[in-house]
């Protein structure tokens, strides 16, 4: 009650509620119409999502114009955007949530409702949790090794060095390269018989270390994580370099005048001022690494056995390999929830760090 001090507050609240209600009605109408048209469209050969979108936009626009024009004029203008958002984002999301509760092979029109069975199965699936562990390991390597490399190179390029722009381009080449090409090239480097890595090991007198790096369960995951880090450090490098360049040089000059050495300058000026950038890079690294799969598909396809399998390859396998669409959707929902939780934790940590 304290929130509503006078009648005007009540009026504003009611107006906000009306707007929210109208938005919800438009979203529900769009999604329902999209589903209805999708169900009915099975007999129409050339129906496409674009046509569905047009029909939904036109119908909703028309209904809104006729019925609600006097009260909700402003809503007329957001109808197309809201319809697009509803059909291409909210509708698929609801569909995945729905399919997660069904047993469906992805082809037959009939689906069997299984409730939470798929989710319970995912929880009990040891391979799924191994894939989560593998993704976590790759993320850990990326957070430490990849970002440390990115920071060192960004610090080097931030100084007035010769051919700085050349190095910036060179460091940004790996992220631009196709993951498939990178995977195939590194696969050759790691090859047990003809690989460059083993060739060097023989050349420098360590033949006992030579092995088939990607098919050895002890080294496969680390090898994949190294390639992932090599391919990804360029993004961190660019963001960190941009962050470093926003720090005023006067701070460094003042610190030098006070007699601070390089480490003290880094610890006392660079790190505190770069915390928001570190957090951003960390969030991007975690989300990127957890969802990485192209490199893995190219290099090991999740093998040997399940030693390099990651959640996305498991979802793909459930959907395409085993024709278990419902199960794949429940895996996706759980994986999405885990990523969401990680993002919230990181956001919270970053807020605390900023306050500190």
């Amino acid at each position: 009650m304290i929130l509503f001090k006078n009648i005007y507050d009540w009026y504003r609240a009611l107006k906000g509620f009306r707007k929210g209600l109208a938005t919800s009605i438009i979203v529900i109408l769009s999604v329902s119409l999209a589903e209805l048209i999708y169900q009915k469209s099975h007999n129409l050969r050339f129906i496409s999502p674009i046509i569905i979108l047009l029909v939904v936009s036109a119908l909703i626009g028309l209904i809104t114009k006729i019925i609600l024009v006097r009260q909700f004029r402003s809503f007329l203008f957001i109808v197309p955007a809201l319809a697009i958002f509803s059909i291409f984002y909210i509708y698929p999301f609801i569909k995945v949530l729905q399919l997660g509760h069904y047993n469906w092979d992805g082809i037959l029109p009939t689906m069997k409702f299984v409730g939470l069975y798929n989710f319970i199965e995912v929880m009990k699936d040891k391979v799924w949790w191994q894939s989560m562990f593998n993704a976590g390991y790759i993320t850990f390597i990326a957070l430490t090794f990849q970002n440390a490399l990115a920071l060192i190179l960004a610090l080097a390029c931030d100084r007035q060095m010769k051919a700085g722009n050349f190095y910036r381009i060179i460091f940004f080449i790996p992220p631009v390269l196709s993951a498939v090409v990178v995977g195939l090239v590194w696969q050759w480097l790691y090859d047990g018989d003809y690989g460059l890595l083993n060739h060097w090991l023989y050349a420098i007198g360590f033949p006992n270390l030579a092995r088939s790096w990607l098919s050895d369960p002890k080294t496969a995951l680390t090898c994949v994580a190294i390639v992932h880090s090599w391919k990804g450090f360029g993004w961190g490098f660019v963001i960190l370099l941009a962050g470093l360049q926003t720090i005023p040089h006067e701070f460094y000059e003042a610190a030098r005048v006070e007699g601070a050495n390089s480490w003290q300058v880094f610890k006392g000026i660079t790190v505190p001022l770069m915390i928001p950038v570190f957090v951003l890079v960390a969030i991007l690294t975690v989300l990127g690494s957890m969802q990485s799969f192209v490199l893995i598909l190219t290099m090991t396809d999740g093998g040997p056995v399940f030693h390099t399998v990651v959640p996305v390859t498991r979802i793909l396998n459930s959907m395409i390999g085993s024709s278990r669409f419902g199960y794949a959707c429940s895996q996706s929902i759980i994986f999405g929830a885990i990523l969401l939780a990680i993002s919230f934790i990181q956001k919270r940590v970053s807020q605390n760090m900023r306050q500190a």
């Binding site: 036109a58 626009g61 007329l76 369960p217 395409i320």
Partner: protein, 458 residues
């Protein structure tokens, strides 16, 4: 004063709002017009486009190596009949598989398409009403069309009475070519190891002995795409049929014989023996078949386990490769060596919803006719599905064709194994290859999964 100001403000807003409102009305009308045009178009009023569409048959496939031959055949068919054949290539195969499934869900499959997957996927497509039964067309003129195919090829696209998938009996596809998977050996490397290049190993012991001799001259033994579990499954199935016989393998699939049976353990022990005797090429456990093909073509392994499609692949990679095919060496001399994949590697299915079904079937009859099959076979170096087109195939392909009678295919078995068990079998054998599991522990694990799957299916 305040009221006056707000009135003026509102008056200023009205014309602006009207303009925006007019713009909105205009855009809304535009979309409605577009929608109307679409309805007009799809209702058959646009006769010119419709007439063109009636003369075009769309075909989806994933095989890059057959694309140019298909395009040439499409030209020939258009010249003969005036009907345009639009071959659409979607590669690689996993992308194609996704596209076909998505199109099946949206009911937008083309007139003709190929299907990648197991028999249960095939059955699902039929149940969803998107595969036409070609039995009637096959049996016309005393079964003229049906008789031209290898019986093994037809079995893969056929559903018989009382099948486990509850599909009405019939023939639901037209095989375009056939394949089987066998062992291959490099004659040049055999000579290097002082082995007779015209005499491949005839049993398992000889096979292991030959590999030891090859290793002494620095030649790795067997290479295959065992990073792909279907290739492992295929090799294991061959030896399961050889060691235990067909009845016991089918009994296992039905759940009547456990995977812990000593003969299954003997099958898994073969993989352990290959590892213990260092008979496999390095990295085989994660090797995709394409890489395995490169390895064999570049003479970096003496033996390969590969399908008949390899003839075209090896020819492209190393035209001077001297090799020959032979049946996988037997472990048990009493049972025959059934080889996996004896059927159509590729069949075309007719969309039951197609408005051009009759024209489509006519085109398929033409495509599987002798002349077209000879052309396809010579261009793509694959085994033709038409048995009358075998006369002009290369010697190495003839070796594959000779053993067609020894082939089998999960598509013709009365039951198929569940995906969970198939995955556990393939991954379990990979575990044996990297020494994480023993044949006994794999057998127990497989049986546990099999029992769980059986309980859930009830």
């Amino acid at each position: 004063m305040k009221n006056q100001k707000s009135k003026i403000k509102n008056q200023n807003h009205i014309p602006k709002f009207k303009k925006v409102f007019k713009f909105f009305n205009f855009s809304l009308s535009f979309w409605i017009l577009i929608f109307g045009l679409w309805i007009f178009n799809s209702s058959g009023c646009a006769q010119r486009d419709d007439a063109l569409a009636k003369k075009t048959i769309t075909v989806w496939h994933w095989m890059t190596d057959r694309e140019s031959a298909f395009q040439e055949l499409a030209k020939r068919y258009e010249d003969e009949t005036g009907i345009r054949i639009n071959f659409e290539l979607y590669a690689p195969s996993d992308v194609y598989s996704q596209k076909v499934r998505a199109a099946a869900q949206g009911r937008t499959l083309p007139d003709i398409y190929g299907l990648l997957g197991e028999k249960r996927d095939f059955a699902a497509f039929i149940k969803s009403g998107q595969v036409a039964d070609l039995s009637e067309a096959m049996n016309e003129e005393n079964g003229l069309w049906k008789e031209c195919f290898f019986s093994k090829a037809l079995e893969v696209v056929e559903f018989k009475e009382n099948n486990t998938y509850a599909i009405l009996p019939g023939i639901y596809g037209a095989p375009i070519d056939i394949m089987n998977i066998q062992m291959l050996y490099n004659k040049k490397l055999f000579k290097k190891a002082r082995l007779d290049p015209e005499r491949p190993p005839s049993n398992w012991e000889e096979f292991i002995d030959d590999i030891q001799k090859l290793k002494k001259v620095g030649v790795p033994g067997l290479v295959s795409g065992w990073g792909e579990i279907w290739m492992i499954d295929c090799f294991a199935s061959n030896y399961a049929f050889n060691i235990m016989g067909e009845d016991k393998v089918i009994a296992t699939l039905k759940g009547d014989l456990p995977y812990t049976d000593p003969e299954w353990i003997k099958v898994f022990s073969l993989f352990k023996e290959l590892v213990d005797k260092d008979a496999l090429a390095s990295g085989i456990v994660i090797m995709k078949n394409k890489v395995a093909e490169q390895t064999f073509a570049n003479e970096r392994a003496a033996f390969a386990f590969n399908g008949s499609w390899c003839v075209n692949v090896y020819d492209g990679m190393n035209p001077r490769l001297e090799y020959a095919a032979f049946l996988p060496p037997k472990v048990n001399g009493k049972n025959p060596m059934y080889i996996w994949g004896g059927g159509s590697s590729f069949s075309f299915l007719v969309n039951d919803r197609s408005s051009k079904k009759l024209e489509t079937i006519k085109f398929l009859k033409w495509l599987t006719d002798k002349d077209q099959q000879v052309y396809l076979s010579s261009e793509t170096k694959n085994l033709p599905s038409n048995k009358f087109a075998l006369a002009k195939i290369p010697k190495i392909l003839a070796q594959f064709a000779d053993d067609m009678d020894s082939t089998t295919n999960p598509g013709i078995w009365p039951v198929t194994e569940s995906p969970a068990v198939i995955e556990a079998l393939g991954k379990g054998i990979q575990s044996i290859l990297i020494k994480e599991k023993t044949p006994e522990s794999l057998a127990q694990e497989l049986q546990a999964i099999k029992e769980k799957e059986s309980q859930e299916s009830f």
